[in-house]
Symmetry: C2
Subunit: 189 residues, 2 copies
Amino acid sequence: MRLLEERIQKDGEIIGNDIVKVDMFLNHQIDVELLCEIGKEFKRLFADRPVNKIVTIEASGIGIACITAQYFSVPVVFAKKGNHRNVGNDIYTGEVFSFTKGVTTQIGISRKYISPDDHILIIDDFLANGGAAKGLIGIIEQAGATVEGIGIVIEKGFQSGGKELREMGYNLKSLAVINSIDEGKIIFG
Amino acid sequence: MRLLEERIQKDGEIIGNDIVKVDMFLNHQIDVELLCEIGKEFKRLFADRPVNKIVTIEASGIGIACITAQYFSVPVVFAKKGNHRNVGNDIYTGEVFSFTKGVTTQIGISRKYISPDDHILIIDDFLANGGAAKGLIGIIEQAGATVEGIGIVIEKGFQSGGKELREMGYNLKSLAVINSIDEGKIIFG
C-alpha cells in the first residue's frame, strides 16, 4: 500500500537495524484518516471471505480493528492482556511472547464472544515473529471458530512470523512489508 | 442517548449495586455500529468547540476515540499505561487511581504529541470517580494545551467524578448517566 509505505518512510523513526517506531501516526498518535484508507484496503483484500467478526489484541490493534470493522459491518473483539480480572473466569487464554520486550504475556477472550460459527479476520498493527497472531489463532481455534484471514499493517519481512504463518496455510496479507533497514533507509518488499 | 440507554439496559451485566459490565458491546466485544452513533452524538455535543485532537487512555477508550475522531476529522492520541518503555523518556506523566481495581496506574503521553496549540477533547468509556479523566487533564495541562471538553459514554452518577469535574468548570457530557442500580434494574438520570 503505497500511501502507507510513503508515510512509514516519512514519519517512521528508525532505531538501529531492526526497529521502526510509528508512534507518530499508528500506535500512540493515530492518524484516523490514514486508518480509514487502511480499513478500506483490508476490506478489498479480504472481500471474498465470509468474515463476521474481527479479532485483535489490546492496545494498539483496537483502533485499526474498529475502523476496519466499519467496512465489513461486523463487531470487534479484542483480547485482553494480563490477569483478566474484569473479564471473568470463563475465558479462552493464550500466551504471546514478545521478542521486542523479552516477555511472555497472557492474553484472553471471554468464551461468550467467540463461537464455532464465527469466521474471523485477525487484525494487528505489527507482525515480526508472529507471537501475537499465533496467540490469537490459538484462542480462535480453541473456540472452534475459523480464521478467515490475518491482516497486518506492517510486517517485518526480515523476521520469521510471516513466513511461518503462510507456511501454516493462513491467508496473511500485510499492507507494508519492511524487508530491511539499511543505514537509516527502509527497504520495502 | 436513548439508543445507548436501551442497549445498557438490554445487554449490561449488573454486578451487585454498583457495577454494570458492558463487555458485550463496549469494552471487550465492540459493536462498531453503535460506536458510530456514539461518535456522531459526541460531534453534535461538542460541535461548537475548536477541537483539533482527541485524547483517550488505553485500552477500551481507543476504539471509541478513533471512531469519534472521524466525525471531527482530527487525530487521536492515547495515553499509555505502565512503564512506557516503548514511548521513550520524553513524556508527560500522570497517575490514575482506579477504585474498581484498587490500584494506581502510571499513564504517559509523549511530549511530541501534545503542544500548547492543541484544543483537546477527552473521550473515555466510563466515568466513576474520575481518576482517568483527571489523569488525562493533568497531562494536557502540563503540556499547556486546552481541554475543550470531556465526552464520556457511561457516567456513574452515584459516584463523585462527574460532579467534581463539572464544579472544576470542565465541559463534561455523558451519553448515559446511571443514577442507581436497584434490584437488577438500572435507573438513568
